[in-house]
Symmetry: C2
Subunit: 371 residues, 2 copies
């Protein structure tokens, strides 16, 4: 066992005997996929097979750290995902808690192109939380969405993003929408002196994704958004790492909720929103805020924050981006909970009454806290 | 509501009032993402918003059919997935049961390039179940894997596939492995007169996927395999629809188990393994057989079979490919359960003792049933 290995830590349900049997099962299922007596040589048993590095009680369940040979992941994110949670995603009572990857192992991954620092630098905002809002509803024309973008920009929202449901529908085709919205935001910025940017949703057919990214860039969009649950994590990594594109990427959780639907299967919030997003190059991770219309708990939200900012070798820290459940009344509470390195995503809450003055009120509430 | 719409049917947990509230929530969350009073015009309320077409009791839960405007999906698989289960994947007590798509709607999708008939024609096997096995374990050299492929081919296995864990590891790099294995299988075919084919696992980094597909094709692989849970469904669709590649694609469930981990959230087996795989161009769907080392029930396996072969406009029917839990003793039972249009995936079960004679025994047991 002298060769280099990386580890994944799993939460395993059941009484001790069953949990231990689950840990042993993972060692085989995620590597050789054969019972012990069919492994053809000692080399594979010693070097390729997963190995239980630790096994201990954790609440009413057990936690096992299982190591794999670095070579198994073949320096590819797709295969790393396969090794840590491929076939065992189909078994019950196993939840992937977190990855323990050495600095050397992490060198195979570029990670976010911007991260917290880079995105702050790009937007010229260095201390306070960032404010993000969404253009909606689906069904509005590009012109009407651009009008809304103009209002949000007048109100000084830092990032004005497409709702994740806006792609290339006939009501507001991508190119037209992006051009009108960026133009409207530019106009507003001229008036206000703010530096609002547009974030274009490029979640699409594979052949369209990069075309839309480049189209958005040409139009002057400052940020891109995509949903790795739909596109696959590696497609996001590919966009984030493409120098011709060179824009920050916000990760949206659409279609990925099933990974977090159960306490004893799937992936932890820490791993999915933090570690995997960072390995896949996202600069910010949208997730459902606690107390909103979704069901994440404060504890889960806190673990996402840690996943976004815990040390991961050379991989940059990224912004947690809680959405939903954020009314003007709760702003101060949210500021206390999340601290300054956060992007607050507030949508419908700003659209009741006067959009511009709602945004300005929000700004003053958030900034009061961080001079 | 005169415009064309498509439907998705959801299973909703809870007492009637709560289930109905979930159904109403889906209508908003999956389209406008705004409360009713913020929807800016009647056009959007009437035409864009989801609509509950039916709502009725189903066991201890409720089933709701919800329709969406065809335009919302923008003729893209990625956006169809987003509309049917994007944000609501993050809510509890909602499970997507199946899609109800009109023949006209389905014309936006090519579906499988081969399907049951096409794959049968390609392999020259017209009535009986197909037999598939997997090369493993990870850690063997390409030469040793090719030796094993040779044995499987001598035994007349129709499809000899990479284990899904084999990608491009140093132990058996992709190009070397594919060339040695296809060559070994060709040799064996010359001896036996069988027509075994090699199925190469092309699940990889996005930039590598098509390169590996073409590399496999050049080497003489007859089939490709990929895991849409890892790559994203649309990447599989892109490979399946690429005429330069032109090979059948087998879909592997790695990393996708969380979608099926709960009875009251995620996706139904029918929808994920059948409908989504077919929309994404897979010609066969691997899934964990009942009674094996995974936890699918006979009822769930039967629903996958229906998902693979129920009518879907012009979209071809595909092979269900149950894996695991298939010993020589259970072959007849499996034949009765699945009927002839199936690919049996049998791995480790053939590797104990004499591989060639195990395969030949399996062949005789399966074919005895279907002369």
């Amino acid at each position: 066992m002298a060769r280099e290995r990386f580890s994944a830590v799993y939460l395993l349900s059941g009484p001790k005997r069953q949990a231990l049997s689950r840990a042993q099962d993972i060692c085989y299922e995620q590597t050789v996929e054969l019972p012990d007596d069919l492994i053809p040589c000692e080399f594979i048993k010693k070097n390729v097979l997963g190995n239980i590095e630790s096994f201990k009680k954790s609440g009413s369940a057990f936690k096992a750290e299982i190591s794999y040979p670095v070579e198994a992941a073949a320096s590819e994110l797709s295969q790393l995902i396969n090794v840590i949670f491929g076939n065992i995603s189909l078994k019950t009572g196993i939840r992937l808690e977190y990855l323990d990857l050495s600095d050397r192992f992490l060198k195979a991954f570029s990670g976010p192109g911007f991260g917290v620092r880079g995105l702050r630098k790009k937007l010229g905002i260095f201390k306070r939380p960032l404010l993000c809002t969404a253009l909606k509803p689906m069904g509005l024309s590009s012109r009407d969405l651009a009008k809304l973008a103009y209002q949000f920009a007048l109100g000084g929202m830092d990032i004005i993003k497409d709702d994740h449901g806006l792609t290339n529908q006939c009501w507001a085709p991508f190119k037209e929408r992006v051009e009108l919205c960026t133009s409207a935001i530019r106009e507003a910025n001229k008036k206000t002196g703010f530096t609002s940017v547009y974030a274009a949703n490029i979640t699409a057919s594979l052949v369209e994704i990069k075309k839309r990214a480049l189209c958005a860039k040409r139009a002057g969009a400052g940020v891109l958004m995509m949903a790795p649950g739909i596109t696959g994590f590696d497609v996001m990594r590919d966009v984030a790492g493409d120098k011709k594109i060179g824009l920050p990427v916000i990760s949206h959780p659409a279609f990925a909720g099933s990974f977090m639907a159960s306490q004893n299967s799937g992936l932890s919030h820490y791993c999915f929103f933090g570690q995997l997003n960072r390995l896949a190059g996202a600069d910010a991770a949208i997730f459902p805020n606690y107390g909103g219309r979704f069901s994440f708990s404060p504890k889960e939200c806190r673990s996402i924050v840690r996943g976004c900012c815990d040390r991961m070798g050379h991989i940059r820290t990224i912004f947690p981006c809680p959405g939903g459940g954020m009314s003007l009344k709760r702003v101060r509470q949210m500021c206390d909970f999340y601290g300054p390195d956060v992007i607050f995503l507030i949508g419908g809450g700003l659209m009741r009454g006067n959009v511009v003055s709602n945004c300005l009120t929000l700004r003053s509430l958030v900034f009061a806290d961080r001079a």
